[in-house]
Amino acid sequence: MSAPLIEMRGITKSFGAVKANEAVDLSVTPGEILGLLGENGAGKTTLMNVLFGAYAPDAGEILVEGRPVAIHNSADALAAGIGMVHQHFHLAPRLTVLENLLIGIPGKSGRIDRARGLARLTEISRQYGLSLDPNLPVSALSVGEQQRLEIIKALFRGAKLLILDEPTAVLAPSEVDGLFAALRSMAAQGLGIIFISHKLNEVRALTHRCVVLRHGKVAGRVDHPAETTSAEMARLMCGHEIVPPVKEASTPGAAVLTLDGISTAGHAGTPLRDVSLSVRAGEILGIAGVSGNGQRALADVISGMLPPGAGAMTIAGKTVKQFSPRELQALGLGRIPEDRMTTGLVTNLPLADSMVLPRIGTEAFSRKGLLNPAAIRAFAEAQIKAYDIRCPGPMVRAGALSGGNLQKALLARELAFDPKVLIVSQPTRGLDIGAARFIHEKFLAMRARGCGIIVIGEDLEELLMLSDRIAVMYEGRIAGTLPSADATVARLGLMMTGAGQTEEAA
């Protein structure tokens, strides 16, 4: 084994009373892909922020190629050959690809050295198979391309170690393969890579070695992730066994939601074209598809944000007339939007307010046109307890909660009113195993109680596990519907590309 590229020894970092990292040791050798595994809040991001100079550690030291270095800021980290691709990209959308690369790079006689920048970009593109048009503004790039730009940016600055913080969280499954191929090629050419994730299958597929963090400490080290079972690694992450939820057989009842020939126009993104589908009581319908094939329009129509241009929709036998969120809610629709932070709740208001927001004018929370703060607070407190939402209290700013707790809060808000139909988009995106399991159990419990649920998602394994039937969307149409017993990842994947369409009455 070659000498480590980077070594972290005894890193400890506290925020107030919370120990985010405690005596963590970690090393990466050239050519190695190290997995850093852990649940949300286990201290993965904090540890990497220490390495990248965003936080100063309380104790411990960092060695680069055997020499101790002091990293006070990102400039020091870059100088030491450490590059980081953050979960939220650090790019300026209105500047071009090249300008984003050249930021902070000294120019030639006072001018930006475009020619050299272009040459370097071409070189990196060729070496690692990462190409981008240098003159496009970043806003014109897809999420996957923006991530590629972040990787190129790090390499551009001569990074020998690349840290990627949950890089797959934002990618579609097809983009993940491309990322993995690029990372493998970089490692093969002698770079060190730290891959942060809580997705076990990815860590097992990609990394050479992995370190598992739990509550800020190293909970275990796995030397051969590919040969270690997911269950074993999940146990290290959570500290206890994870039992998959049991889906009981159910007999679906009458249709609670039907869409008949719905088409849309004037929507940002792919419009719907003649979409018909139905969900019965006690049934979960999964909607699969490559992102951008009309899923957003479908979710917006069903939740009343986008009146369709043609077609009809019924909820529990009643025809929807105005397509306003309020009307649909009154008919018994619950909705968990894709983006928790923007359309889900108001991050700057207290959690309690966000939890009653859709029903703020109803009798439960107001009297004679005035809010009833006691009722709002009591409702929030009850839900916080029932759903084990970890927060200092109902009056905390909603934005301060972690993703998993926010999702629980949104779920609590909808389920408390016993919806007949529930529409959810990407229900567990960015959540760790524990939180995702909790959400899945709640869906199955609602199904058992006779709620019809539509789950729009990109995680095919999750859809297969939850759904009774799966419909695949392609270019704004339903390309086909399968009972999940007949569906496999391969078959769905084929349908998602528009090939092998199966027509069946939905």
């Binding site: 990248f52 990102s74 870059l78 300026a92 959308p93 500047l95 300008e99």
Partner: protein, 314 residues
């Protein structure tokens, strides 16, 4: 109507446009640099007034106009630094601090002016800058005497526009300015100091606002009065939006505003006596509002404008 056209193509009219546009161009470029770095500077009106006063005073006491200009620029830069201290270093509200800077600078200008010159029935004046014709170029018909027989400060404004565009788009520092105004976190993670870059941009902006003030008291009016700036700073803020935060477009916006202003001055003088002159005074501002309403629709402000940057906050 043809009479109006005749007016437009007179040398005097064109020269007036150039003269009116000069302080606006300096102020607009100054505000643009500040906003490009993510800092709105509502102190502009006060900074211009204080610089105009300081420059005038220095010139009047020393007898050197260029010393006056230098003092005005330094005072502008200093007030820019004050604004940056509040908004960049301390991360306070840019709106509130900007208005504070304007009120403070205006008050200080009045106070110091009274202290130095006392109460006089006729405001003291200086022998201001004289036009400096540029050989050959000033011989071009119409354009020559209008553009190339002007004050040195006018030429400086004409040069300042391409210079500002060069600095903003072609130099590493300009790229840093644009980056900290769009996504300071990105600049920070690339090793660029957000605080230093913002300070520099706001100070440069203040210096340019100081030049605008110097022009008013040392070339245009040759005296200081309390109404010497009279809203030109506020107009510059609108012109930055109108010019979509771009030096060339901002300068164009300043020229357009100057055209309407020069036009209304002519209209006041041209015997439409039955209309109160205040009605003409309103024209450039009405024009600005209308133009803004159409032009600013597609204008996208720097993403991080008004947002203070703190590193450990996520």
């Amino acid at each position: 109507m043809s009479a109006v056209f005749e007016q437009i193509f007179q040398v005097g009219f064109l020269a007036a446009i150039v003269r009116i546009a000069t302080p606006l161009a300096f102020a607009t470029l100054g505000e643009m640099f500040s906003e490009r770095a993510g800092v709105l500077n509502l102190g502009i009106e006060g900074i211009m007034l204080l610089s105009a006063m300081a420059g005038f005073t220095a010139a009047s006491l020393s007898g050197s106009l260029w010393l006056g200009v230098l003092v005005a620029v330094l005072v502008g830069a200093l007030m820019g630094a004050l604004h940056a201290l509040f908004t960049v270093a301390l991360g306070l509200s840019q709106h509130v601090c900007g208005i504070g800077v304007t009120l403070f600078s205006s008050g200080l200008a009045y106070f110091l002016y009274r202290l130095i010159f006392g109460q006089q029935s006729v405001p003291p004046s200086i022998d201001g800058f004289k036009p400096v014709p540029i050989p050959l170029l000033s011989d071009i018909p119409i354009l020559g005497p209008a553009v190339f027989n002007q004050f040195t400060l006018v030429y400086m404004a004409i040069i300042a526009v391409p210079l500002a565009a060069f600095v903003l788009y072609r130099t590493p520092w300009g790229l840093s300015v644009r980056m900290v105004g769009e996504n300071p976190r990105a600049a920070d993670s690339a090793g660029v100091s957000v605080m230093a870059t913002r300070f520099q941009a706001v100070i440069l902006g203040g210096a340019l606002m100081g030049l605008a003030g110097a022009f008013l008291t040392m070339a245009q009016f040759n005296a200081f009065t309390f109404g010497v700036v009279s809203g030109r700073g506020w107009v510059a803020i609108a012109l930055v939006v109108f010019g979509r935060w771009d030096p060339w477009r901002s300068a164009g916006a300043a020229l357009l505003f100057a055209f309407v202003d020069a036009l209304q001055l002519r209209m006041q003088a041209s015997g439409l006596g039955h209309i109160p002159y205040e009605a003409f005074l309103m024209l450039p501002f009405i024009f600005t509002i209308v133009a803004m309403a159409f032009m600013s629709r597609n204008a996208v402000a720097p993403s991080a404008l008004l947002k203070p940057f703190r590193r450990e906050e996520r």
